[in-house]
């Protein structure tokens, strides 16, 4: 067997372990001639590389084979024939523990087989002879077949099939037999439902004839005779289908319908055919060129052929293997991949048959059993040789031969082992698929990577181990690139499975490992992991992040674990430059944002000064940008904040703006405070230039807006402050607030000469008031313009403009009386047209309203008429609904529902509530 021909790689390496590389080299060359030339050239090269590339072929030679069977002796020569050399074995049959042997001198031997497990794991067999019987002819026993349900042995001898008792080998008393058979086959997929009957097909001594028989305990019955186009030589049966080797070709013949299908030609003169049923509706045939061909009853091939030697004389099947016998070897091919798996030297064999999974070979002198190695052992051997594909094919193929539960456990484990083999070869896609489909406890994989599993993890690797590696260092032999690849793989794998079912129960281990990988690789996903739902273990992760200086991430981890104080402190330290981590360039803004949404007031106060010192404008956002709903519940007290912000004027302004403008707090202090702060700022800005007509600055605009819009600030206080500051506009506004419109307008018109501001004034200070108020303001302004007389030309123009632009704000009749007679209609055209329009418009709207009211009235009248309108006939047949008496006079009362009553009844009803209501009566 292979092991003897080529030394196993293992033994080679063991030897090598003691020697220096050059010696190893020579040792190798002894084993494998092929590499000799290569070796000589390569001697100067790096030994490690050499070992990898050239050691493998040596391995590969051994890889061709697998040990699927061992050959053990079952019946020794002495047991059968002693020293009578002329006796030879013609046929064998095995049924359960019964082994039958037919000889050329017409004897049948019966043995009992006893299987003994050896300590080495392989089985041995001991056969004890029960009895032997002579059949009474001078002919050899050609074929034996047991029908255990009938307790009969079918014996073909001298062209006749007799039935003998399986135990005592006595012929059945009835003498039933099938005559004229050259060979026969039992249908293992019977069509007849009777369990106490076997179906037998014989090739008849009659030319070109096959016959079907039913064989019972002590009788036989012919069912069908079919003739063939050529002389049949061998037959196998499945259901209604006969697979026949004719003289020049194989065919499938349906004996029920007579339909025959050619398979392929062969030459029976060159070598005898083989026809072997291998399973439901499938046969194995000896084809040309030493091929083992598969064919189904439909006449097609569903498996590729196996390649035997040219002179195969027998074939058997022991799933998943096809075994063939020639004069020197037993060869084993897998039906799953058609590869040759094993070769066993075996001389002078002439019988190879399988009996319910037991494979027996025989020479003319002795009987042997091919004992299959347990499939699991075979699979493990393949895995040990990294023949993953084959191992998986074999495992899958074994599914139907192993109980389901056992299979699933075994198969899962094999997939996992295979996964690790692929993984070790960096075949990550394949590995992943294997891990996934085998539902690998992912910690097995994580545990390969040093330090990734949390120290608290209770995980221990499965035993026996799924692979041979201590850790990744050993697996990659320190190759950094490979190591990095492995890490990348684990990253993507963990990321993929962390939210799937596989992760259940180990979420902490997975997420912590993932965090460590991300941190180490400086991977962006680290942050994503930490800001979303995760199960990273705090202590382990914190230590790791610190080690890798991922302080920002560490902060996130603290935050996730509700330790915001530590988180913020850490970030503050980064901003201050006490520790280095450049993850975020906008970390300060991040902290502001963080604290803005932080519910912990204490924490906000702790860092408020730091934040404001960094930037008043941005820092103050922790107060101004807080979410509103939060403000209502656990709100900060604005006064606390204001006193805190005393030192930070810019921040204070922003905060007050927030209170007054954004939140519209109606509190006098805030409004006054803000106005004063604006004013201070305005005054400070004005100080250096001192000029009067400086454009209004931004602050000034804000101030004006506040003074205009707010009604809460202390007007007198501000007036005091403004006094003499040269802020006429502001004073005007303040006057306005006090209702001193004359004064305000006077300032605007006469001090500032700003007519448009005066117009604006009229508009804004009447905002929210009634139209009369506004009209009053405009009239006041107009009067002011006109009072100056025609000499003040610009005021006249302003007056005209005012009228023309705001025609609607005036009472035209009043205005017309005020205007000097000298003004032309032309000049006031827009005003007049506007006034006319308005007047006409007012008239028309009134007319429309009037019309509508009238028509509404009409509708009501109509309804009323309808109610009153219809004529009522009064006759003696009509009775009062209340008193049930006829009406004597043409006077009555009618209710809206049509009921008629006497006037007096109606009157009394009102005084007598107990009387029935007429409404309910009808």
């Amino acid at each position: 067997m292979s092991g003897n021909v080529v030394p196993s790689p293992c033994s080679t390496t063991c030897l090598c372990g003691f020697l220096d590389p050059p010696f190893k080299l020579r040792l190798q060359t002894l084993h494998l001639q092929k590499v000799v030339t290569a070796n000589l050239k390569i001697e100067s090269l790096n030994w490690g590389a050499f070992q990898q590339e050239h050691f493998m072929p040596d391995y590969a030679v051994d890889m061709m084979n697998i040990k699927a069977f061992t050959l053990v002796s079952a019946v020794e020569r002495e047991l059968l024939m002693g020293d009578r050399d002329h006796i030879s074995i013609e046929c064998v049959e095995c049924c359960g523990r019964n082994l039958y042997v037919g000889t050329n001198d017409c004897f049948i031997y019966h043995f009992l087989l006893e299987e003994k497990a050896m300590p080495t794991g392989t089985a041995t067999f001991i056969a004890t002879k029960q009895l032997h019987r002579h059949l009474g002819f001078k002919k050899p026993v050609n074929e034996l077949c047991a029908a255990s349900a009938l307790n009969r042995l079918l014996v073909l001898c001298d062209n006749s099939i007799t039935l003998v008792n399986m135990l005592n080998l006595e012929p059945v008393p009835s003498g039933a037999r099938i005559k004229g058979a050259t060979t026969f086959a039992v249908n293992e997929n019977p069509v007849n439902g009777d369990p106490f009957c076997v179906e037998v097909c014989i090739i008849s001594v009659k030319r070109r004839t096959v016959q079907m028989f039913l064989v019972y305990e002590d009788r036989v019955q012919i069912v069908k005779e079919v003739s063939t186009t050529e002389q049949p030589l061998a037959v196998a049966v499945d259901g209604y289908f006969l697979c026949l080797a004719l003289t020049t070709q194989y065919i499938i013949l349906n004996y029920s319908t007579g339909f025959s299908q050619d398979l392929f030609p062969y030459c029976s003169e060159e070598k005898p055919p083989i026809v072997k049923r291998i399973g439901r509706q499938e046969f194995l045939l000896a084809g040309p060129g030493g091929l083992g061909m598969f064919a189904t009853v439909a006449g097609i091939s569903q498996r590729a052929p196996v390649h035997w030697s040219e002179n195969v004389i027998g074939a058997a099947v022991c799933f998943p293997y096809v075994i063939a016998l020639d004069d020197e070897f037993i060869t084993v091919h897998s039906m799953l991949d058609q590869q040759q798996k094993q070769t066993l030297p075996f001389k002078e064999g002439h019988i190879l048959q399988d009996f319910e999974g037991r494979v027996i070979v025989a020479t003319s002198k002795g009987v042997y059993i091919l004992v299959p190695l347990p499939l699991e052992k075979q699979i493990q051997d393949l895995l040990a040789n990294r023949r993953v594909e084959e191992a998986l094919v074999l495992a899958k193929g074994a599914r139907r031969n192993i109980p389901k539960e056992k299979f699933q456990v075994m198969y899962r484990r094999i997939l996992q082992q295979a996964g690790f083999i692929q993984f070790a070869q960096l075949q990550f896609l394949e590995a992943k698929e294997l891990f996934r489909s085998s539902q690998l406890d992912v910690r097995e994989l994580i545990s390969l990577y040093p330090f990734l599993l949390p120290t608290s993890s209770s995980f221990t690797r499965s035993h026996p181990p799924l692979h041979e590696y201590a850790d990744l260092n050993q697996l990659t032999q320190g190759d950094q690139e490979k190591m990095a690849k492995c890490k990348r793989f684990l990253m993507s794998y963990l990321n993929e499975i962390r939210s799937t079912e596989v992760a259940n129960g180990y979420k902490e281990d997975i997420d912590t490992a993932l965090l460590k990988l991300y941190a180490e690789a400086d991977h962006d996903s680290l942050l994503d992991l930490l800001v979303t739902e995760n199960s990273c273990l705090l202590t382990d992760s914190a230590a790791w992040l610190e080690k890798h200086k991922k302080y920002f991430a560490l902060g996130l981890l603290y935050h996730y674990n509700k330790q915001d104080a530590s988180a913020v402190q850490l970030w503050v330290n980064i901003v201050n430059g006490d520790i280095q981590d450049s993850t975020r360039s906008d970390l300060y803004e991040y902290i502001v944002d963080f604290l803005t949404y932080c519910l912990d007031q204490e924490l906000v106060w702790t860092h408020a000064d730091w934040l404001l010192q960094k930037s008043q404008e941005v820092g103050v956002q922790v107060f101004t940008k807080r979410p509103l709903d939060e403000q209502q519940q656990t709100s900060f007290n604005p006064d606390d904040i204001i006193s805190c912000l005393k030192k930070y004027p810019k921040a204070l302004v922003k905060y007050l703006e927030h209170l007054v403008i954004d939140r519209r707090l109606q509190k006098e202090e805030y409004h006054t405070h803000l106005a004063l702060l604006y004013l201070e700022e305005v005054l400070r800005q004005r100080a250096p230039t001192g000029g009067k007509d400086v454009e209004a600055t931004e602050t000034q605009a804000k101030l004006r807006r506040l003074l205009q819009k707010s009604d809460l600030y202390r007007v007198h206080l501000l007036k005091e402050k403004i006094q003499g500051a040269g802020l006429p506009m502001e004073s005007a506004i303040l006057h306005g607030k006090l209702g001193e419109h004359e004064k305000a307008l006077h300032i605007l018109v006469h001090e500032m000469g700003d007519f448009s501001a005066a117009e604006d004034y009229c508009l804004w200070s009447s905002e929210g008031q009634d139209a009369a108020c506004r009209q009053r303001l405009f009239h006041t302004l107009l009067a002011m313009y006109l009072r100056a007389g025609p000499s003040a030309h610009d005021l006249t123009v302003a007056a005209v403009d005012l009228l023309n632009h705001h025609a609607r704000e005036f009472d035209a009749t009043q205005v017309l009386q005020l205007l000097p007679d000298t003004w032309s209609v032309q000049l006031l055209c827009p005003f007049l047209t506007g006034a006319m329009r308005d007047s006409i418009h007012a008239r028309r709207t009134t007319q429309v309203a009037l019309g509508l009211a009238k028509s509404e009235n009409l509708i009501y009248m109509y309804d009323k008429m309808k109610l009153k309108g219809s004529a009522i006939w009064l006759s003696e047949k009509k009775l009062c609904q209340l008193c049930q008496n006829p009406f004597g006079e043409p006077v009555f009362v009618r209710y809206p529902n049509g009921g008629l009553v006497h006037t007096h009844c109606a009157a009394s009803r009102h005084t007598n509530p107990s009387s029935p209501s007429p409404g309910t009566r009808t």
Binding site: Q249, D262, L263, F264, P265, Y266, G287, P288, G289, L291, M293, A295, A298, G299, I300, S301, Q302, R303, A304, P305, H307, Q338
Partner: protein, 232 residues
């Protein structure tokens, strides 16, 4: 074992490159092949179907197996070597006869392989130029093409006639005649995938017919009866 839904068979003289074509397609490589013994097959998942592709042995010795392999085939790829006119003749002489057992509506593709060895360029030569450019050293050994696409197309039309298939109902010769190189991969995917796409509807139709007890007479084509009589 998964049961294939449809079968495609590669036929052709030995050494034309059948095994190489299959390996190029299935394994994306061009390894040294050993002469195929008997036959081999691959399962290819295409959409939701399993298609088995059989590689056969071109050697005379295994010729007898061809009919069995072709039984029930949905498509047959007849392969020749563009540098070997004899290999094209063999298709008609030896291999066509084996296809009798295939499905009635079996498709035929005719494939001239090893175009990388020729100097002549097909109309779609651009891609091939690049591919062969890499193997620069071969340039000097190139010879003019011995078999032209027109010869293959003529054979294709002849096959349709033999099989009494309606030319209008079968895919055209331009679609079903390919020139390939297993070595460079030129047209290899195109060949197999064109066939898969043509075979899949046939499988679906077949399945529908099997499952429905009603026979749709428009699908069953006339040639069924006349054919065997003619070519027997």
């Amino acid at each position: 074992m998964r049961k294939p839904d449809g079968k495609i068979v590669l036929l052709g003289d030995m050494n034309v490159g059948k095994t190489s074509l299959l390996q190029r397609y299935m394994e994306r490589r061009f390894p040294d092949t050993v002469s195929t013994v008997g036959g081999a097959f691959y399962l290819k998942q295409w959409r939701s179907f399993n298609i088995s592709i059989w590689d056969t042995a071109g050697r005379e010795q295994f010729h007898g197996l061809g009919s069995m392999y072709c039984r029930g085939a949905a498509a047959i790829i007849l392969t020749y070597d563009v540098n070997n006119p004899q290999s094209l003749f063999e298709l008609e002489d030896r291999f066509l006869g084996l296809t009798e057992t295939a499905n009635n509506d079996c498709l035929f593709a005719i494939v001239g392989n090893k175009v990388d060895l020729t100097t002549e360029r097909g109309p779609e030569g651009g891609e091939k130029d690049q591919a062969s450019g890499k193997t620069g050293s071969c340039v000097s050994s190139k010879v003019p093409k011995q078999v032209h696409p027109e010869d293959a197309m003529a054979l294709y039309k002849k096959i349709l006639k033999y099989k009494m298939l309606d030319e209008r109902e079968m895919p055209g010769a331009e679609q079903m005649c390919f020139e390939t190189s297993a070595k460079t991969g030129h047209n290899v995917d195109l060949l197999f995938e064109t066939l898969f796409d043509l075979v899949v509807p046939m499988i679906t139709r077949q399945k529908a017919e099997e499952s429905s007890p009603i026979v749709d007479i428009t699908i069953c084509k006339a040639p069924k009866q006349t054919r065997s009589g003619c070519c027997a």
